[in-house]
């Protein structure tokens, strides 16, 4: 992990002190609500449906055991609503089900952290007047909420297997850290037209959905000699970075108008990435629309201007190089300084016998225990180092919302990270935690510990490993709840034989069109909509995040008018049954869907309407 220098630490402490000062001025009435809002947002503090929400930055998802313990403390001691507030909130939530005549959703919970698709951690019940204390506490372990919200460059995300993936071309983490530092409190880019999200990966497989970001970066190695860059250091003969650069994508995003990013540079030398991004963001800051927040993302600008946007970025980049003197050209020494933080931990596994040992463990265990075998298959991934494995702890289980971790679970995971993974974990895009440095001979022991904690469910990448936003239980923007839908589907699909038979499926749920639950990219996408004050759900099929399993990135297609909340599970079942009817041997859900087309799925889904049947008949008439 990146080791914070005294400079980095002082920077975070200063930021926490600044927030305390702003909070005090707000409480004294000299800083208005309106003026305070973007300031607190850029420290991760939202005001939600019932209480503030804090989004803590986990830069590129890497988190240390000591940091998990502080998050546990925050969950335990600060994520606590006043009883009267909780009672009022619960009564309001109960009213939604009463009005709809549907069965009650799960009760509101507190005392936990929530992993987000952008690899951050959220808390839902911390009173704003405690916010400065929480920021101080976070700062003790190099954590903060800087730019986790607001119209600025947000926390940078990456591949959950960065630095450990067997298919990696180059480790994206040093670049992600350099980008983090450059974008942190950038004076020119704190009030952009809208939020700005950057994702970066360096592997053959895209596990970071980069095409769905404002800027997507793929680390690549050029097969040709890089001769067109006058700023490349001449003395870097054998650094290993000679032919490294980025494929640059711009203008992806979800929301009302899902757009897949366009490639604007096939190859940009690595040391130019800050100069180039400065050009991209400056053009966006100057040209992006500010009259309508739904048309303010860079995707709209890229679509509207097309080649003119690309030309302007290239001209601005050229001016930065030739007129400004390219001050943010990254020296090799700086890249090496940062990269030194990401050296793999020393692990004392006997390499000579490793292969035999792995084979022995896998064989013996698979024969002994079906569940362990399934866990190895779904939750354990290959590693660059053949002695090691990447293990995903599943935070998708009955009784807890996707991605939620209680204070005790956060403490327990810190313990697991220390015992089995060199003290490090990763928050994944799919809202789980990954242990990146697990010795293969410790897999059975880790499995037993994780199972005891309820975190070894072998459902990673399967139907119930779904993505869901907090939705209408907490979020002020939501049109409908996501947690009860996630719970109902999880309850309907508890049989592991069935889940494994259904195979790998991306099911994504968003409580509104802002798409925090990435419903556009779900093979099955569920979107909450509001009609006449009631919750409805639009279902889409065939979306892709751009992974090998899902194919070229693209948004799913709506299968018909919205469904009532109580119909959603039946729709999912109808869609899955249709897949089972049509699949050939070994064919995945998404492949079958693409082969046979959407029609049989639509017909099956619409046939289960009972509450909306009358509504649909009226609409058709």
């Amino acid at each position: 992990m990146y080791s914070y220098t005294e400079f980095d630490r002082q920077f975070i402490r200063h930021r926490a002190a600044q927030h305390r000062d702003q909070l005090a001025r707000h409480q004294a009435g000299t800083l208005s609500d309106e003026a305070f809002r973007p300031l607190r947002l850029q420290n991760g503090w939202y005001i939600q449906r019932y209480a503030p929400m804090l989004r803590v930055a986990v830069p590129y998802g890497e988190i240390a055991a000591r940091q998990l313990r502080v998050l546990a403390t925050i969950a335990r001691e600060y994520d606590r609503p006043d009883p009267a507030l909780l009672a009022r909130a619960q009564a309001t939530q109960d009213g939604i089900d009463e009005r709809a005549g549907s069965r009650p959703g799960p009760r509101l919970k507190f005392g936990y952290g929530h992993f987000t698709t952008r690899q951050n951690v959220q808390f839902n019940w911390i009173p704003l007047d405690k916010s400065a204390d929480v920021m101080d506490l976070l700062a003790t372990v190099d954590m903060h909420g800087i730019q986790t919200s607001g119209n600025c460059i947000r926390n940078i995300t990456t591949d959950e297997r960065a630095g450990i993936a067997a298919d990696e071309v180059a480790d994206p983490r040093p670049f992600a850290e350099i980008l983090r530092q450059w974008s942190t409190l950038h004076p020119e880019f704190a009030f952009l037209p809208r939020k700005f999200k950057v994702a970066i990966h360096g592997a053959r497989e895209d596990r970071a959905a980069i095409a769905w970001h404002d800027v997507g970066l793929q680390v690549v190695r050029s097969t040709e000699t890089v001769a067109n860059n006058p700023h490349q250091e001449s003395d870097e003969g054998h650094s290993g970075y000679e032919n490294v650069g980025f494929k640059v994508l711009v203008g992806g995003g979800m929301g009302r108008t899902p757009v897949v990013a366009s490639v604007i540079r096939e190859f940009l030398p690595w040391d130019q990435i800050l100069n180039y991004l400065e050009a991209v963001v400056r053009v966006y800051n100057r040209w992006g629309r500010r009259d309508n927040k739904y048309k303010a993302r860079i995707k709209i600008l890229v679509k509207a201007e097309g080649q003119r946007f690309v030309d302007e970025v290239e001209a601005e980049y050229e001016a930065i190089l030739m007129q400004d003197g390219a001050p943010h050209t990254i020296p090799l020494a700086e890249l090496q300084r940062v990269a030194a933080s990401f050296v793999p931990p020393a692990l004392n596994c006997d390499r000579k016998t490793a292969d035999a040992k792995i084979a022995h463990i896998l064989k013996a265990a698979a024969e002994d225990d079906v569940e362990f075998g399934r866990w190895l298959q779904q939750n354990v991934a290959a590693h660059k180092n053949p002695d090691l494995r990447a293990v995903t702890l599943s935070f998708k289980r009955l009784g807890q919302a996707p991605g939620d971790a209680t204070a005790d679970q956060l403490d327990a995971v810190a313990e697991l990270a220390e015992r089995f993974s060199a003290g490090e974990a990763r928050v994944t895009h799919d809202q789980n935690l990954l242990l990146p440095w697990v010795r293969c001979d410790q897999l059975p022991e880790l499995w037993r510990e994780a199972r005891r904690l309820g975190l070894a469910k072998p459902n990673i990448r399967l139907l119930t490993d779904m993505i869901a936003c907090p939705g209408g239980d907490f979020c002020d923007l939501a049109n409908a709840r996501a947690i009860p839908v996630a719970a109902a589907i999880s309850e309907a699909y508890t049989d592991l034989d069935e889940l494994h038979d259904l195979g790998e499926i991306d099911l994504h749920i968003s409580g509104c069109i802002n798409s925090c639950g990435h419903h556009h990219t779900g093979h099955i996408g569920i979107l909450g909509v509001d009609k006449d004050g009631q919750e409805w759900y639009q279902v889409t099929l065939g979306g892709s995040d751009g992974s090998t399993l899902s194919g070229a990135p693209g948004a799913g297609k709506v299968i018909g008018p919205s469904f009532a909340a109580d119909e959603v599970v039946d729709v999912v079942t109808a869609v899955l049954d249709t897949y089972r009817t049509h699949r050939t041997s070994g064919e995945t859900f998404i492949t079958t869907l693409r082969r046979v087309g959407h029609d049989p799925y639509k017909a099956a889904a619409n046939a289960v309407r009972h509450i909306t049947a009358r509504h649909t008949a009226q609409a058709d008439a």
Partner: protein, 131 residues
């Protein structure tokens, strides 16, 4: 950076050597001959276009005169303004000069270069210092 309240607008604010630039203008197309002050405008403090305009004026065009911030100028954005090249700010109504000056005085060290100090922090770091 010099701070002013609305009532104390500098007397130079209307002379012929002062250029008022709307916030959607491209400063690179402006005629800066004989201009000693460029006045930029924040229609709302959340509209960040003038930060890029100031940067381009100061850094790209090498403008050495005064760059003045007007409009919805709040104390919590003064540090950003100073870093992007503004040298004067006329505070919006109700903003405190004293708080503004205190926040400017408390400005922290930074990672990236800006219009005033173009070099990023890493440019001054040797590998030894960083270790």
């Amino acid at each position: 950076m010099k701070l002013f309240e609305q009532a104390q607008l500098p007397s130079s604010s209307t002379d012929s050597q002062t250029l008022l630039l709307p916030n959607d203008a491209d400063p690179r197309t402006a005629d800066l001959t004989g201009v000693h002050t460029v006045v930029l405008h924040f229609p709302s403090f959340t509209d960040g276009r003038a930060f890029s305009q100031a940067f381009l004026l100061r850094r790209r065009l090498g403008f050495t005169g005064t760059i003045r911030a007007t409009g919805d100028v709040l104390v919590d954005q003064l540090v950003q303004m100073a870093r992007t090249g503004f040298t004067e700010a006329v505070l919006a109504d109700g903003q405190s000069l004293a708080v503004g000056q205190r926040l400017l005085d408390q400005a922290n060290a930074t990672y990236q270069g800006d219009a005033v100090a173009p070099q990023p922090r890493f440019a001054s770091l040797s590998t030894l210092e960083a270790a």
